[in-house]
Every structure is written in C-alpha cells, then in structure tokens.
C-alpha cells in the first residue's frame, strides 16, 4: 500500500533558524511528489512537483529535494509568514489518487 510519512509532526523555529522537513514515501512507479502549503481555514496551496531522484526545486526561502525514498523541504532563514502546515503527497503512475501525509505544522517565532 502506498504510504507517506511526514516528520516531525510539528516544528517551532526562531526567525532566521533554518531547518528541514522530511517526507518518506513508499510507492511503486512514482509519477510525482508534491509539496503543498496550507494555512488555517484555507485550501492547500501548490508549491513544488518533483519527478525523479536528484531533482531540486526552489522558491524564495524554500528548496525541495527528492531521493528514491524521501523528500526534504529545506527552509532557509524562515520568517513568521512561513508559518503554516506543509503537506507532502505522492502520485503513482496510472492512478489519479494523490496519497497525502498527515502534514507538518511549522511555527516561526519573531
């Protein structure tokens, strides 16, 4: 069965304190790994798609990387506005189902 595990479940950082979020996955025939940001009371906001091991994507203070078993979302010098829940999801070839992890709540204190 396809599985996605995110760790840690919650993370508190001081402004400017860089860190990484982990997403471990098991899926046969990965079609894509997706990162989303979700603010309270809002829908998930798309951040990145990674398709193959070794791929990296960057956007502002965020950088996503992918290996054959996990993905990392690196946050460099975070700001309070980066506080949100970050979701990881995988898609298997031939399936329309996205398998989501439970999410990781990030709080960045000023």
């Amino acid at each position: 069965e396809d599985q996605v595990t995110q760790s840690p479940e919650a993370l508190r950082l001081q402004e400017g304190e860089s860190s990484s979020l982990n997403c471990s996955y098991t899926v046969s025939g990965l079609r894509g790994l997706f990162w989303y940001r979700q603010d309270p009371g809002k829908g998930p906001e798309f951040l990145f798609t990674l398709y193959s091991a070794g791929e990296e994507k960057e956007k502002e203070r965020l950088k996503a990387t992918l290996t054959k078993k996990e993905s990392f979302l690196h946050i460099t010098a975070p700001k309070p506005e980066d506080s949100a829940t970050y979701l990881c999801a995988v898609s298997q070839g031939g399936s329309e189902k996205l398998v989501f992890g439970k999410g990781m709540k990030l709080t960045v204190n000023p």
């Binding site: 894509g32 829908g43 329309e96």
Partner: protein, 112 residues
C-alpha cells in the same frame, strides 16, 4: 481568473438530510477531484473525474455521489448525511499537461 471556487464555506446538517457541495473551476481543466480532510489525517480522495461525463470512485466514496455535466462544474452530493461525514471538503483540478492539483478554499460541514 478565480481558480477553483467552492460553495458554501460552512454548513450544518442534521442526520439524514441531503445537500450538494458546489465546485467550479475556470482554468479549463479536464481533471477534477473531491477530497475530505479530517483532523490529524491526510486528505482522502472521494471521487474524481477525467472529463465531462466521466467519473470514478476514489478511496472513500461511500455516502457520496458526483456528476460532471460540464468541464467547469463538479458537484458532490451527500445523501442521508451521517455524523461520520463531518469533515472539511476540498475540490481540486488539474490540467492535461501536468500532475499537480490546484485546490479550492474548502467547505466545512458538520452533521449533528
């Protein structure tokens, strides 16, 4: 360009009542999806559609129905609401050329 819109934002139903959650997208996307999100759980796929007139079940379809008569609209129907259907419902869509899905703002449903 509004993206994916959902109505209503909030709704309270009594057990046994029925309702339709509306979803519309203005991106001319062929693929549309309905998910539910429960506290401490990942989003679960309820139903999806690959184009007008074509729908299929996801992981948790029981108690729900869908239809897709146009490219833009993908309503989700709840028949005989039960407390287990208390959740936040998200509609999403994607285009043909890529696999990332774009989500609406959600509908928070409470069944009492």
């Amino acid at each position: 360009n509004a993206g994916v819109t959902q109505t209503p934002k909030f709704r309270i139903l009594k057990i046994g009542q029925s309702m339709t959650l509306q979803c519309t997208q203005d991106m001319n996307h062929n693929y549309m999806y309905w998910y539910r999100q429960d506290p401490g759980m990942g989003l679960k796929l309820i139903y999806y559609s690959v184009g007008a007139g074509i729908t299929d079940k996801g992981e948790v379809p029981n108690g729900y129905n869908v239809s897709r008569s146009t490219t833009e609209d993908f309503p989700l129907r709840l028949e005989l609401a039960a407390p287990s259907q208390t959740s936040v419902y998200f509609c999403a869509s994607r285009g043909q050329a890529s696999y990332e899905q774009y989500f609406g703002p959600g509908t928070r449903l409470t069944v009492t």
